[in-house]
């Protein structure tokens, strides 16, 4: 039996969550068990971004974040804590999400798209009027995609005073951002588009050891996966692609999603 939804959003990004919170007949299809992978899953740093869009579209979301203490008065978002807060938001809004779900194929038809999705229960077919790909790797059509860069992030707390200089001495291309709390830092390590995760993780480890041989700075945690910056794709008109690098922060991405969904059709229920 084929499921039918108004819109399928590939990737549980903040854009996708914003979109589906506004357009209830849509469904998010996510490969992992993590929501908001585009920021908190990869620990991607975010500067003040909450003022980036109109109050009307994101007021509810901002109130929710503020209520949980993860949005500061200056508009900064506590990226690590979003991991649980975004789940609470999705739960409260009853946003339909399929986790552990991989897109096998997407076929464009006159009336929309026919998708083949692989889940823990095997292959399911879903028909949808609209398809929006919010994955960094453009899973809807990867052919000829050019991955320009990949990044890993490390979160650390109260490192040595000369910490940035010491890391730059061993990895000149790394970048630093202040974390949500005082004395927290997020370090961004860039890699080329062909890098593999084991190699990149080993490189971060080697750089860190060389920079801090006596443990003068410690990694609290690292991104689970690469933050990917990609462009291209064979058929640009196949479906809309909203890679997350378009957005400076999760609230901006969420708001963009709300705006994109504005004026969508009646509710329908995803069937799976």
């Amino acid at each position: 039996m084929e499921g039918q939804v108004d819109a399928v959003l590939l990737g549980a990004s903040f854009f996708a969550i914003g979109y589906t919170s506004t357009c209830p007949g849509s469904l998010i299809v996510e490969e992992t068990e993590v929501l908001g992978n585009d920021f908190e899953g990869c620990l991607r740093a975010s500067g003040p971004d909450a003022d980036a869009a109109s109050d009307r579209d994101n007021l509810d979301f901002r109130r929710f974040l503020r209520g949980k203490g993860v949005l500061s008065d200056s508009g900064c978002v506590d990226i690590p804590s979003l991991a649980t807060v975004v789940c609470a938001y999705v739960r409260e809004k009853r946003i339909p999400v399929l986790l552990d779900a991989f897109l096998l194929s997407a076929e464009k038809r006159e009336d929309g798209y026919r998708l083949s999705i692989f889940t823990n229960d095997g292959i399911h077919m879903i028909r949808t009027r609209e398809l929006i790909d919010t994955t960094a790797l453009r899973v809807s059509q990867r052919d000829n995609l050019v991955v320009r860069a990949k990044y890993l992030y490390a979160l650390c707390y109260r490192p040595a005073a000369d910490f940035t200089a010491r890391l730059r001495a061993v990895c000149p291309a790394c970048e630093f951002s202040r974390g949500f709390f005082q004395d927290e830092w997020i370090v961004r390590f860039p890699f080329d588009g062909s890098a593999a995760l084991p190699t990149a993780r080993q490189a971060v480890y080697d750089w860190w050891r060389r920079a801090f041989p006596l443990g003068e700075a410690l990694i609290d945690g690292m991104s689970f996966d690469f933050d990917v910056d990609a462009v291209g794709g064979t058929r640009p008109d196949f479906c809309r692609w909203v890679p997350h690098h378009r957005h400076a922060g999760p609230v901006e991405a969420f708001t963009d999603g709300c705006l994109a969904a504005g004026g969508k059709g009646p509710e329908s229920n995803a069937v799976l």
């Binding site: 992992t32 991991a83 807060v85 609470a88 999400v97 945690g221 689970f224």
Partner: protein
């Protein structure tokens, strides 16, 4: 050649002729979790070409992605100790202090796999399987967004949930026989403590069904959302850092294998002719709703209060081999085992060693062209013993493991004087089970005499429980007395999850089908029962009695066991069936009973679901939806 795939939960196969594989491997491991990683590593070290496929973005499974990084059961020994040792060298120098820091451990595991020549492919999932005459020949995999066909001589389903076996239509059962429920799953959060070290905590999160995608997704989101309710970033306590990107599922399908390891085999310590590996654990079943568990498990956990005795468990070679298939094994906690056994063979360290021993066995099978059960077993034993992964603690057969990890051996009793001594105290569990092993004829007269010792109240009551365990109904008057004088009193055999004596008495009365206890059990169903002081003694969580926040376990256990006992008695006594049925229906007519069990009113919360499941049970008993 046939191609197998799973469409909406149903396996389908088609004859497809010859297939040109893009690559060929000796072994493909689907799922680089705890067992899969070490299976791949050992097989590569033993000379196979190995391809490792993992749907996530790192290897290590629950101990890494799931951040269940500590150990409390399972033997040390084998390759994983090398990994842990190397990973922990970087803790405190590169990574913040945290035992087996997941970032440290995944790096070491990855480097070991790559050094051994294992091809490591993340974001990869097996979507179809090729087989010729039930001999696996290859897989179709979605990897990095591309679909590829890869050949292999052997395939290991190390997904932990039998996802690959399901593609082949290999039948399995899920959950306990009474209601199909599996153990609670867990969601883990990691935080930085004020002392600068990292800590973790897991939320046991109720029932989950990983084979129903929508309900699975809702359960995961619900569990991960629950951490937002605990006061994020209270600076005095913790700085929230991340949630484990993999949810902790404790139980999935079990399948029919060439050998089967049952709960009876474990509890009666059966020897095994061709052991793959020795695990070491208690029957570590989580969840409070054991009123609905199977008879043998209830006898062990409830009536004998021995839930934390750890056993040496001999896992037979054929328990990883799906019946009738060649070139296929399930190397994970998804095994050919009876209900509840998977709870005892899923510990991190045992899974590492099971993976390693399986990798050795698979390498021998592939190189010799034999089936796994037909490999040269003495040569296998020699190899795994040399690696230290087979049975690292030969002398430890059974015992209690303390909170500090200390081991206290347990010897079953044969001397009735020692039985009597232990029945006089508050740790009578070993004496109960020893009586069972000795058999009713050998102990009956002594137990009846002990039950008449009015001057020793503990001995009298515990002797009645011992007789009840053995199915001798002369104990019923004393058991009824325990029920009527019910209290929160509990035994102390175990470091956690001890049983209350009055709950045991309710259970035994139910098992006897005792109609005389019915009026007292009906009292337990009434709202005014909750006014008893015994239900309000514990105001804080208690590990010893398994009391958690927001859940009145003393009340729940009495109520749930009373419900099950009444249903059992009703089946045996048709004359009082209607009266019992009416009382059961009335007990759950409104949600008031749920409010007495838990203050948590969210319908998706684990506590609420467990409480609500009582209504489901009664509905099933009555044959109608309530």
């Amino acid at each position: 050649m046939r191609y197998y795939e799973l469409i909406e939960g149903k396996s389908r196969s088609t004859e497809i002729g010859a297939v040109a594989f893009s690559q060929e491997f000796g072994l493909i491991v689907s799922g680089l979790g705890s067992a899969g990683t070490f299976c791949a590593l050992a097989a590569a070290q033993e000379g196979l070409t190995v391809c490792g496929l993992e749907r996530g973005s790192c290897c290590g499974g629950m101990s890494v992605q799931g951040v269940v990084n500590g150990y409390y059961n399972g033997y040390p020994g084998g390759l994983f100790e090398e990994v842990d040792s190397e990973a922990n060298k970087a803790v405190g120098t590169v990574y913040r202090s945290f035992f087996n820091h997941p970032d440290a451990k995944k790096r070491v595991m990855e480097q070991k796999l790559i050094s051994a020549g294992v091809g490591v492919h993340y974001h990869s999932v097996v979507i179809g399987i090729y087989a010729e005459e039930r001999q696996i020949t290859g897989v179709r995999v979605l990897t990095e967004g591309k679909i590829r066909d890869i050949g292999c001589r052997f395939l290991s389903d190390s997904t932990s949930n039998g996802y690959v076996l399901r593609l082949l239509g290999i039948a399995g059962s899920v959950g306990r026989p009474t209601d199909g429920r599996t153990q609670p799953f867990s969601s883990v959060r990691v935080f930085r403590r004020p002392d600068g070290k990292l800590g973790r905590t897991n939320h046991d999160s109720g029932y989950i069904d990983q084979y129903r995608p929508r309900s699975f997704s809702e359960s995961v989101i619900e569990a991960n959302a629950s951490h937002a309710e605990v006061g994020l970033n209270d600076r005095r306590r913790e700085r929230f850092l991340f949630l484990a990107p993999q949810i902790g599922i404790r139980e999935g399908m079990v399948f029919e294998g060439e050998d089967r390891l049952t709960l009876e085999d474990v509890l009666y310590e059966k020897e095994c002719a061709r052991t793959l590996v020795c695990a070491y654990s208690d029957i570590d079943k989580h969840g409070d709703d054991y009123a609905f568990d199977s008879a043998l498990y209830q006898e062990w956990r409830v009536a004998n209060n021995l839930s934390t005795i750890t056993f040496k468990i001999r896992v037979p070679m054929g328990a990883i081999v799906p019946k009738g298939w060649k070139g296929l094994a399930s190397v994970s906690r998804c095994l050919s085992v009876g209900n509840y056994v998977s709870s005892a063979v899923r510990m991190n360290r045992d899974m590492y060693r099971l993976g390693e021993a399986s990798g050795v066995a698979i390498a021998m099978a592939v190189k010799s062209g034999r089936g796994l059960r037909d490999i040269d077993y003495p040569a296998f034993l020699k190899a795994v013993r040399k690696r230290g992964c087979f049975d690292p603690r030969l002398a430890e057969l059974r015992g209690f493991v303390g909170a500090d990890g200390g081991f206290t051996p347990v010897a079953w009793l044969t001397d009735i004087r020692e039985v009597r001594r232990q029945l006089s105290g508050d740790c009578p569990g070993v004496a109960f089970w020893s009586c069972r092993r000795l058999g009713l004829p050998a102990v009956r007269n002594d137990l009846v005499r002990m039950m008449s010792q009015v001057q020793d109240a503990e001995l009298r009551l515990n002797a009645a429980v011992a007789l009840g365990n053995l199915g001798d109904d002369t104990c019923l008057p004393v058991l009824r007395e325990i029920v009527c004088n019910r209290s929160e009193y509990h035994y102390l055999d175990c470091r956690r999850s001890n049983q209350m004596r009055s709950v045991i008495a309710i259970y035994l009365c139910g098992r006897f089908g005792d109609a005389e206890i019915v009026p007292e059990l009906l009292e337990i169903l009434k709202p005014q029962e909750y006014g008893r002081r015994m239900y309000h003694v514990y105001t804080k969580p208690s590990y010893q009695l398994s009391i958690t926040e927001n859940f009145n376990s003393v009340y729940y256990q009495h109520l749930s066991f009373a419900i099950v006992a009444l249903a059992t008695i009703a089946r045996k006594h048709p004359a009082i069936q209607n009266r019992i049925a009416a009382a059961l229906q009335e007990a759950v007519r409104t949600d008031d009973y749920i409010g007495r069990i838990t203050a948590d009113r969210r319908m998706n919360s684990p506590n609420y679901r467990i409480a609500a499941n009582l209504r489901t049970y009664i509905g099933n008993f009555l044959g109608k939806e309530l």
